[in-house]
């Protein structure tokens, strides 16, 4: 048995004339391209993105809030010059919002417009075929991503928020890159889109979904990487300050807090310090701006006690 290349096999199944070329040559290239679009990846992120493209598989990205899961999909879309199609998940999301819906009003208009010419059963047969055509369909993000002919990146955001039943809707797309519509038949992808799913892990996703995806866990970045992220995203910040910010945040994350500061909150804080014109973080500045990093009063109290407590005069 000669094993087919995964991309070739998928292209054959989808009936594509040519196998779409690979988007990235190596993980190093992914890293470089993403860096050009202000997204600093690490080895794991670059490798999994490369694999996702190479194997034509979706990626399930999990990790704490604000560590750049959604940003990754955006950066990839920018890097390969593709359109980003985003499906924001929420509880109660259903087929008609995620996949497709019949344009009922347009169908009604069509029926009424056709009526005066006579009402035979022959006519009705034509009409029926007519009103269930693609023309009368409203495409929703999932179908749009499948039927697009230009390059797209599909982002299914916070997939852990939908119910189990809705999750099942996505399985066909994730593994086969196709959608079955009872009235129309199966719509196959015209190209192989890149698919990212993000999850905040508020509930266990089904085995079926996990099995179809590559898994990428994005945790909090190391001090060095966080420093580089700050430097690339906050204009006008000095290297020393960025380093210090990254160190403070690491110390905060080591504390037992209700909500550890995320990367996006770190960036907000760094921007604030730049606006305030600080070159170094003193105790006073830290105490005054801690509320940007931490969102619970008890966390703020705890952090100022732990981090600033020792030499702080009793006020």
């Amino acid at each position: 048995m000669s094993a087919l290349d995964p991309r070739e096999e998928l292209a054959q199944r989808l009936g594509l004339a040519t196998v779409p070329p690979v988007r990235f040559d190596s993980p190093a290239e992914v890293q470089k391209l993403l860096a050009e679009h202000d997204y600093l990846s690490d080895d794991a992120i670059a490798s999994v993105t490369y694999l996702a493209d190479r194997l034509a598989k979706p990626v399930l990205v999990e990790g704490p809030a604000g560590t750049g899961k959604t940003a990754l999909a955006k950066a990839v879309a920018d890097a390969i010059g593709a359109r980003l199609i985003r499906l924001q998940c929420y509880e109660g999301l259903d087929e008609s919002k995620a996949l497709y819906e019949w344009n009922y009003r347009k169908q009604l208009l069509r029926i009424q417009a056709g009526r005066p010419e006579g009402a035979g059963s022959e006519e009705w047969h034509h009409l029926e075929e007519d009103i269930f055509a693609e023309e009368f369909m409203l495409t929703r993000p999932l179908l749009e991503a499948i039927s697009a002919s230009d390059p797209v990146v599909l982002l299914i955001d916070e997939v852990d928020r939908v119910e189990l039943e809705t999750e099942a809707l996505m399985l066909e797309i994730l593994s086969e890159y196709q959608v079955s519509i009872p009235e129309l038949g199966t719509i196959r992808a015209k190209q192989i889109p890149m698919v990212f799913l993000t999850s905040n892990n508020t509930r266990e996703l089904s085995e079926a979904l996990k099995r179809r995806c590559l898994y990428l866990h994005i945790g909090y970045p190391s001090v060095e990487r966080e420093r580089d992220i700050i430097i690339s995203r906050v204009p006008g910040i000095s290297r020393a300050l960025a380093e210090q910010v990254a160190q403070v945040v690491r110390s905060l994350r080591a504390l037992d807090l209700k909500k550890a500061p995320s990367v996006s909150e770190t960036l907000d804080w760094a921007r604030t310090l730049v606006v305030l014109g600080r070159e170094e973080i003193g105790d006073e500045d830290a105490a005054a701006t801690l509320h940007i990093l931490l969102k619970y009063q008890s966390d703020i109290e705890r952090a100022s006690k732990e981090l600033l407590g020792r030499s702080r005069p009793v006020a």
Partner: protein, 476 residues
């Protein structure tokens, strides 16, 4: 490679990570298309295809270190040979680290003196020089670990020996005094401290890796994998967890209870059909000329159970009781009422500690300080606890109350008072006993589970978070 992959997956499964057949196939196809020369890429590939849960990553990392150690990586053909690293143990393979002649043997014909070594480590740590740090770690292991070939150990012992000889505390002190500047304020001091600590942790990890690699050379991957295998957090035995594992459990508990709460809330919402709402149906039928086309149903109102938790908080079972209390209170919205009692040889109600706190963990932490549980000598006395509970609170039990008793039923040869449990059983809807000991220890020594068992609806062995979650989920 395929054989090695097969063995590796076997190890992951043995460690409790569920790897399905199709994931195995995915991994095999993935390694075909990547550059096998890059270790980090192979690692990311295997992690992405085989592990689908962030909590499982540490276990994966350990297994990966053992099966794909950096040393064996250096010659690519080993990868494709199905013989494991054992026969790759060639003399003088150019190691990235630890070129000392005493490799694998330990005892000291080393080229460096102790003070030279500690100076090397100090400078490596100070400058954050990974290369030098790695060399230093290798040297330290050759010098201090005293490894003996063929011993079936997991390496913790060697790690301990090396670390003790290195006197890391002194090293830390030195780094700290070096990093400190005179005008530093509190924050800067703290940052310097954390930085030093992070670097020391790096050194420790490096030493651990070094030891593990030498063990792999000595005994082969599969044998070693078995001895360094760590259970997943949800499979850790709560009663015998060490401090580090305990911290792991604490971390695992919060997301677990949150997930459980979400799942139960969904389950409750989904059962939507109550009985037919006649009034509403008739009102609706007016628009269809009095024909009830559209049936209306009352919203479901499933009875929420009342929970009475009675927990032994003495010594060894205390952590188990804390976890259970945490979990039960985290999903207290699924119950109409939760009342908690803790005992050793006296019994005290601690329900009020949980009232108005956002995070049950806070309340659980306060139990030890505030509950009045010791009446006499501080050895658990189930009979006395039952008696107090029966006297004071038995009247509150109704046919909707479920009683949970947590403990190992080791009664220190006191009186059992099983007849009181019988009366509680008669009054309540159900009585469950959760025992954190393995089933085959029950009724040995002073454990008297069998005396209480006839009056419990079920006695359940509950040693891990997984078992606990399953039980609590069933309860709601």
């Amino acid at each position: 490679m395929l054989n090695l992959l097969g063995d590796f997956i076997g190890e992951l499964r043995a460690a409790g990570i569920p790897v399905s057949m199709s994931e195995h196939v995915d991994a095999a196809r993935a390694v075909e298309v990547i550059d096998l020369g890059s270790r980090s890429l192979v690692k990311a590939t295997l992690a992405a295809t085989l592990v689908k849960d962030g909590d499982h990553l540490p276990v994966f990392n350990t297994a990966f270190e053992v099966f794909f150690s950096t040393r064996s990586w250096e010659s690519a053909e080993e990868l494709f040979s199905d013989e494991l690293q054992r026969d790759a143990e060639r003399e003088g393979a150019p190691g990235a680290s630890g070129a000392g002649p005493g490799r694998g043997q330990g005892s000291g014909s080393s080229s460096m003196s102790a003070s030279e070594l500690s100076e090397l480590l100090f400078r490596a740590l100070k400058n954050g020089d990974m290369e030098a740090l790695r060399a230093g770690a290798g040297e330290a292991v050759s010098r201090y670990a005293g490894m003996e070939p063929g011993r079936p150990v997991g390496g913790t012992y060697y790690l301990y020996r090396t670390l003790r000889s290195l006197e890391l505390d002194a090293l830390e002190e030195r780094l700290l005094s070096d990093a400190q500047r005179p005008h530093d304020d509190g924050l800067a001091e703290r940052l310097a401290h954390d930085e030093v600590r992070a670097r020391i942790a790096q050194l420790k990890a490096e030493i651990e890796r070094e030891i593990r690699e030498r063990l792999v050379e000595d005994r082969g991957s599969q044998a070693l994998a078995k001895s360094v295998r760590k259970p997943l957090p949800e499979d850790l035995d709560v009663m015998h967890a060490n401090r580090e594992e305990m911290a792991q459990l604490e971390r695992a508990l919060r997301p677990l209870s949150r997930k459980l709460a979400v799942r139960l809330a969904r389950k409750r919402r989904r059962r939507r059909r109550g009985p037919v709402d006649l009034r509403n149906t008739v009102r609706r039928s007016l628009s269809t000329g009095g024909v009830p086309l559209d049936l209306r149903f009352k919203p479901p109102r499933p009875a929420k159970p009342e929970i009475f938790v009675i927990a032994d908080v003495s010594g060894s079972v205390a952590s188990f009781a804390r976890f259970t209390l945490h979990l039960v209170h985290a999903i207290s919205s699924q119950f109409s009422k939760v009342r908690s009692f803790v005992f050793v040889d006296g019994l005290d109600e601690v329900t009020q500690l949980f009232e108005g706190v956002e995070d049950p963990a806070d309340a659980v932490a306060r139990i030890n300080a505030e509950a009045d549980v010791i009446a006499f000598d501080g050895h658990s006395d189930y009979g006395r606890a039952l008696m107090t509970f029966h006297d004071l609170y038995a009247k509150d039990l109704t046919k909707r109350s479920t009683v949970l008793i947590l403990g190992d039923a080791r009664n220190n040869y006191h009186q059992a008072h099983a007849e009181l449990l019988a009366d509680l059983h008669y009054r309540a809807k159900a009585v469950y006993w959760l025992n954190p000991e393995p089933t085959n220890y029950w009724n040995s020594g002073d454990s008297i589970v069998s005396q209480y068992a006839p009056y419990c609806d079920r006695v359940i062995e509950c040693r891990t978070l997984r078992q606990l979650e399953a039980f609590v989920g069933e309860l709601a």
